[in-house]
C-alpha cells in the first residue's frame, strides 16, 4: 500500500508539468527504435517506455482500470517504464484516434470503449479515423454491460411493463451519441412500444436526477453507475444488455430473454459487443510476437487478486480475458457489424 501512496503523491506533484511536456513531445517520443522482427520481445521491452492511453479524464472508470493496473504490470515488466496518459475529448474518439495512429511498435496501447468505438464507426460519426476490425487486440480488462432502469416509484417495474406500455415511454439520457443513447435507440427500434428518447441532458447524473423527479421514465447507464442507482437509490433494474446476467444484480433479466426469434437475432450483436467493453488495443500492424508478449503481461497483471480487490472496492469489476479469447469474441462480433448499423439508425 505504501508504494501506492507514494505513487499517488508523485503523480499529484508532477502531473501538471509532465502533462505539458508529454503533449509537446507527441507520439514520436514513444519510438526511439523501430526494432526488428526476430528480436526477443522480452529484450525489446527492456529499458523502453510503454505508453497507456486513457481516452477519458483522470479519476473516471477507464482511468482507474489502467492506473491501478500499473503497479502490477510493473511487476511483470520490471525494466519497462509505464506511463498512463489521459487524452480525453470527443466522447473518447480523440484518444482512440491517437492509439490507432501511433507507431505500431508495441509501445503504445490504449484502453478503449470498444462498443462506443464501433457505434461511432457504424453511425458515421465525424472524426472517426479507425476501422474497428483492424485494431491490434491485447485483451479485455472488464465488461460493464449497460443496465436499463426505471425510477423507484415508476409504474414500470419490469421490462415487460415497458413493452406493454400504452403511454409514451420517455428515455432520459446524458448526451446524444453516448453509448447509453445508442442502446436506447436500438431497443426502441427493435421492440414496438410508444417511446420518446430525450438525449440532451448534460450528463448521466442529470438524467438520473430527471428520473427521480419523474420527468422521464427510463434511463440507461453502463456498468457501475447503473448498478449504483439500483443499489443506492432503489431504482428498478429492468434489463441488462448482455449475454450473461450482471454479477451484482443476478435477478435482472438479460435482453435475450425478450421478444420473438427475429427480435432476439437482431439484438444479439448488441449484447455480444458488450462482452468486449473495456478492451486494451494498439494500432494495426504491431509485430505478433511483441503483441503476444505484452498481452500475456497485461493478462497476468490483471489476474492478480490484489488488482481485482482494489477495483471491486470502487465498484469496477475486473473480468480479464486473454488475447486469444478476446480476438475470437471480436471476430464473431465483427461479422455482425453491418446489422448493427441498421439497428442504430434513428
Amino acid at each position: 500500500m505504501r508504494g501506492l501512496h507514494a505513487k499517488g503523491l508523485m503523480l499529484a506533484g508532477t502531473a501538471a508539468a509532465a502533462a505539458l511536456v508529454l503533449a509537446a513531445c507527441g507520439s514520436d517520443a514513444a519510438s526511439p527504435t523501430a526494432g526488428s522482427e526476430d528480436e526477443d520481445p522480452a529484450a525489446f521491452y527492456e529499458g523502453k517506455t510503454l505508453t497507456m492511453i486513457v481516452p477519458y479524464n483522470p479519476g473516471g472508470g477507464f482511468d482507474s482500470y489502467l492506473r491501478l493496473l500499473v503497479p502490477y504490470l510493473e511487476e511483470q515488466l520490471p525494466d519497462t517504464t509505464i506511463r498512463v496518459e489521459n487524452q480525453p475529448g470527443g466522447g473518447g474518439l480523440i484518444g482512440a484516434n491517437a492509439v490507432y495512429q501511433a507507431e505500431p511498435d508495441g509501445l503504445t496501447v490504449g484502453l478503449i470503449n470498444y462498443p462506443g468505438a464501433v457505434f461511432a464507426e457504424v453511425t458515421g460519426t465525424d472524426g472517426v479515423t479507425f476501422e474497428s476490425t483492424e485494431w491490434t487486440q491485447y485483451g479485455r480488462l472488464g465488461a460493464l454491460p449497460p443496465l436499463v432502469y426505471t425510477a423507484p416509484d415508476s409504474e414500470y417495474t419490469s421490462f415487460e411493463d415497458i413493452l406493454d406500455a400504452s403511454d409514451t415511454v420517455k428515455f432520459g439520457l446524458g448526451g446524444v451519441g453516448s453509448d447509453a443513447y445508442y442502446v436506447a435507440v436500438a431497443i426502441s427500434n427493435v421492440f414496438d412500444f410508444p417511446h420518446e428518447i430525450i438525449g440532451g441532458y448534460p450528463g448521466s447524473n442529470e438524467a438520473d436526477a430527471a428520473l427521480l423527479a419523474g420527468e422521464v421514465d427510463v434511463s440507461v447507464n453502463s456498468g457501475g453507475a447503473g448498478v449504483l442507482m439500483v443499489e443506492g437509490s432503489g431504482a428498478h433494474g429492468v434489463v441488462a444488455v448482455s449475454n450473461e446476467p450482471l454479477e451484482q444484480l443476478p435477478d435482472v433479466p438479460v435482453i435475450g430473454d425478450f421478444g420473438d426469434d427475429s427480435q432476439k437475432e437482431q439484438l444479439a450483436p448488441l449484447a455480444s459487443i458488450y462482452d468486449l467493453e473495456r478492451m486494451v488495443v494498439g494500432p494495426p500492424g504491431v509485430p505478433e510476437d511483441r503483441a503476444d508478449f505484452l498481452a500475456e503481461a497485461i493478462f497476468a497483471a490483471a489476474s492478480e487478486s490484489g488488482y481485482a480487490e482494489e477495483m471491486e472496492a470502487a465498484s469496477y469489476p475486473v473480468n480479464a480475458l486473454n488475447r486469444a479469447d478476446t480476438m475470437e469474441l471480436s471476430s464473431t462480433v465483427n461479422e455482425s457489424i453491418e446489422s448493427l448499423a441498421d439497428l442504430l439508425a434513428d
Binding site: L4, A15, L20, V176, A209, A213, A314
Partner: protein, 517 residues
C-alpha cells in the same frame, strides 16, 4: 440523530484524523494556487493516495484538500486576476480592483471570512435539506433553469462596459462563442470545422485564463507598473485596507453573506446548475440589491463576499443529492462518490439509514476545513498582499506560464493553450475599446445553460413549459422589470429632465430575478 452528530465530530477529533486533515488542506491550498489543478483535478489526483487508508482519515485528507483549494484560488483571483478555476472568475471582478487600490489584504480578509461563513452555511443546509432534497429536485427542472438563465442574460447589461450598448455587445459575443461545439440536443457539431477538440466547446478554463489572466498580464506588462502601483506602499497597512477590515466588511454585510449562501446551496442541490451559476447568480443579485451598483467592478467588497459565500455554500448543497441519492450535485461530487465507494460506503438512501455518523463526519470535515483554510489564509494574507506591489517584469511571466498550464491541464489539448493566448490578446483589445470582459464570460457561461435547457424544456413539456408556475413567475417578473424602467423614466421625464441612470431597467431586471431564487 444527536448521537450520530456527536459521533461524527468525535471521529474527526481523533489526532490522526486531524493530522490527515491538515496535510490534505496544505496540499489543497497549493493546488488552489495553480489554475487548472483546482477543483475536480484536486480530487482526481489525490484519489490514488487514499486507497487503503482508514475511511475516516481518508475522508479527512481528501475533503480537507477539496475544502482548502477553493480558497487558494481566491488568493490568486484577488491578487493577480488569475482565477483558480473557470467559475472563480467572479471573484476577480471586484477582488482584483481592490488589490489595485492597495486593499489586497482587505479583499483577502473578505474572501476568507465569507468563504468560511458560506461554507458553514452550506453545511447547515446539508443537514437540513436531506429530507426535502427530492422536492427541490422536482421543482427545479429544465424550464426553471432556462428561466433563471434568461434572468442572467438580463443581468449581463450590468457589466462594467463603458457604454450600455458595449455591455450588450460583450454579452452577445460571449453567447456566440459559447455555441461552438456539439449541439446539446441534436449532437450536431457547430462551428468546429472538423476539430474533435472543439466538440466540447472552447472551454471555460481556457477562456477565463485568456480573458482575465493573460489579458491582465499584458496590461500590467505594457504599463510597466506593479498591480497596486497607484496606491502608496504603506496603504496595505493603513486603516481600511487591512485584513481585519475585510473580516469586518463581512460581518457588517452578514445578510448578503447569507443570501449568497442560499443561492449557492440551491445551485449545489440541483444537479446541472453548478458553481458557475452560483457565483454569477450571487454576484448579479448582490449588485442588483446594492444602493450603489456602479461601485461594482471597481472594488466593492460586497462583490467579493456574495459570490465567495455562494461558492463555498454550494459544496454543502451538492453533498445532498450525492449522499441522498448517489447522484452527484457537482462534477467534484462525481469523484466523491467513487471515493466513498473506495472507502467502503455506498452513497444513497442506505447511507442515510446506516451510516448517518459518516454523513455528519463529512459535514464536520467541510465545516472545519473551511474555517481552518480561512484562518490559515488570513494568517498568510498580509504576506501575499505584498505581491501586489511587485514589479510586473517579475510577476507577469510566471503567472502567464501558470495560467497557460492551467488551460492545458483542464482539457489536455494544446489547442486550449492557443485559445487562451488568442483570448488574451483579443481581451486586451476589447478592454482597451471599452468592452466588458466580465460580460463576455457571463454570456459564454450562460449560453449553454439557456441553449440546453430550452431544448430540453421544449422536448419534455412542449412550448407550454412557460406556463409552469415557477417558470411563469420568473419570466413574467423579468418582463415586468425590463419594461418598468423605461416606463418609469417616461413618466418621470416631464418633472425631472435628468432622469435615472441608463442601466436602471437592467438592474431592476436582475433584482426581480434575484428575489425569486
Amino acid at each position: 440523530m444527536g448521537q450520530a452528530l456527536l459521533d461524527g465530530l468525535l471521529m474527526l477529533l481523533e489526532p490522526m484524523s486531524l493530522v490527515y486533515l491538515t496535510i490534505g488542506m496544505a496540499i489543497g491550498l497549493v493546488f488552489g494556487f495553480l489554475p487548472g489543478l483546482a477543483g475536480l483535478a484536486t480530487l482526481a489526483l489525490l484519489m490514488p493516495v487514499i486507497i487503503g487508508m482508514e475511511p475516516v482519515q481518508g475522508l479527512a485528507f481528501i475533503l480537507g484538500a477539496y475544502g482548502a483549494q477553493s480558497f487558494g484560488g481566491s488568493i490568486t483571483s484577488i491578487l493577480f486576476n488569475v482565477p483558480g478555476s473557470g467559475e472563480q472568475v467572479v471573484t476577480t471582478f471586484d477582488g482584483y480592483p481592490m488589490a489595485r487600490k492597495g486593499q489586497a489584504g482587505r479583499a483577502l480578509g473578505v474572501s476568507a471570512a465569507s468563504s468560511a461563513f458560506g461554507g458553514m452555511f452550506g453545511v447547515v443546509i446539508l443537514l437540513l435539506a436531506i429530507p426535502v432534497a427530492l422536492q427541490l429536485i422536482t421543482y427545479l427542472r429544465p424550464p426553471e433553469i432556462f428561466a433563471l438563465g434568461i434572468v442572467g442574460i438580463m443581468v449581463m447589461g450590468v457589466s462594467s462596459a463603458r457604454t450600455k450598448i458595449k455591455g450588450i455587445i460583450s454579452g452577445a459575443l460571449g453567447l456566440m462563442l459559447s455555441f461552438i461545439g456539439l449541439d446539446p440536443i441534436t449532437g450536431i457539431a457547430r462551428m468546429t470545422f472538423g476539430h474533435l477538440e472543439l466538440n466540447s466547446g472552447l472551454g471555460i478554463t481556457a477562456m477565463t485564463m485568456g480573458l482575465f489572466a493573460v489579458t491582465e498580464m499584458l496590461v500590467l506588462y505594457t504599463r510597466g507598473q506593479a498591480i497596486a502601483a497607484q496606491a502608496p506602499a504603506q496603504t496595505s497597512r493603513a486603516k481600511g485596507s487591512r485584513v481585519i477590515d475585510g473580516v469586518w466588511d463581512t460581518v457588517r454585510n452578514w445578510k448578503m453573506v447569507i443570501q449568497g449562501g442560499v443561492i449557492g446551496s440551491i445551485c449545489g442541490l440541483v444537479p446541472g446548475m453548478g458553481g458557475t451559476v452560483a457565483m454569477f447568480g450571487a454576484y448579479g443579485y448582490a449588485k442588483a440589491r446594492s444602493k450603489d451598483p456602479d461601485s461594482f467592478g471597481k472594488g466593492n467588497p460586497v462583490g467579493v463576499l456574495a459570490p465567495e459565500s455562494a461558492n463555498n455554500a454550494k459544496e454543502g448543497g451538492s453533498f445532498v443529492p450525492t449522499l441522498a441519492f448517489g447522484i452527484p450535485g457537482s462534477s467534484g461530487m462525481a469523484l466523491v462518490i467513487v471515493i466513498l465507494l473506495i472507502l467502503g460506503y455506498v452513497p444513497g438512501p442506505q447511507m442515510i439509514d446506516n451510516h448517518m455518523d459518516i454523513v455528519f463526519l463529512i459535514a464536520w470535515i467541510c465545516a472545519l476545513s473551511n474555517v481552518l483554510a480561512s484562518v490559515l489564509g488570513l494568517a498568510m494574507a498580509p504576506l501575499f498582499a505584498k505581491l501586489a506591489f511587485l514589479r510586473p517584469q517579475l510577476l507577469a511571466p510566471p503567472l502567464v506560464a501558470v495560467s497557460l498550464i492551467g488551460a492545458f491541464v483542464d482539457t489536455r489539448f494544446m489547442l486550449s493553450v492557443l485559445i487562451a493566448v488568442i483570448a488574451g490578446f483579443a481581451g486586451y483589445v476589447l478592454r482597451a475599446l471599452g468592452y466588458s470582459l466580465a460580460g463576455v464570460i457571463l454570456g459564454f457561461v450562460l449560453g449553454p445553460i439557456v441553449d440546453q435547457n430550452l431544448g430540453l424544456a421544449l422536448q419534455l413539456y412542449g412550448s407550454g413549459f412557460v406556463l409552469r408556475p415557477i417558470t411563469a413567475a420568473i419570466l413574467s417578473l423579468t418582463v415586468v422589470a425590463v419594461l418598468w424602467g423605461p416606463v418609469r423614466k417616461a413618466l418621470r421625464r416631464p418633472k425631472d429632465e435628468s432622469g435615472g441612470p441608463g442601466g436602471g431597467a437592467v438592474v431592476a431586471a436582475g433584482e426581480a430575478g434575484g428575489s425569486n431564487r
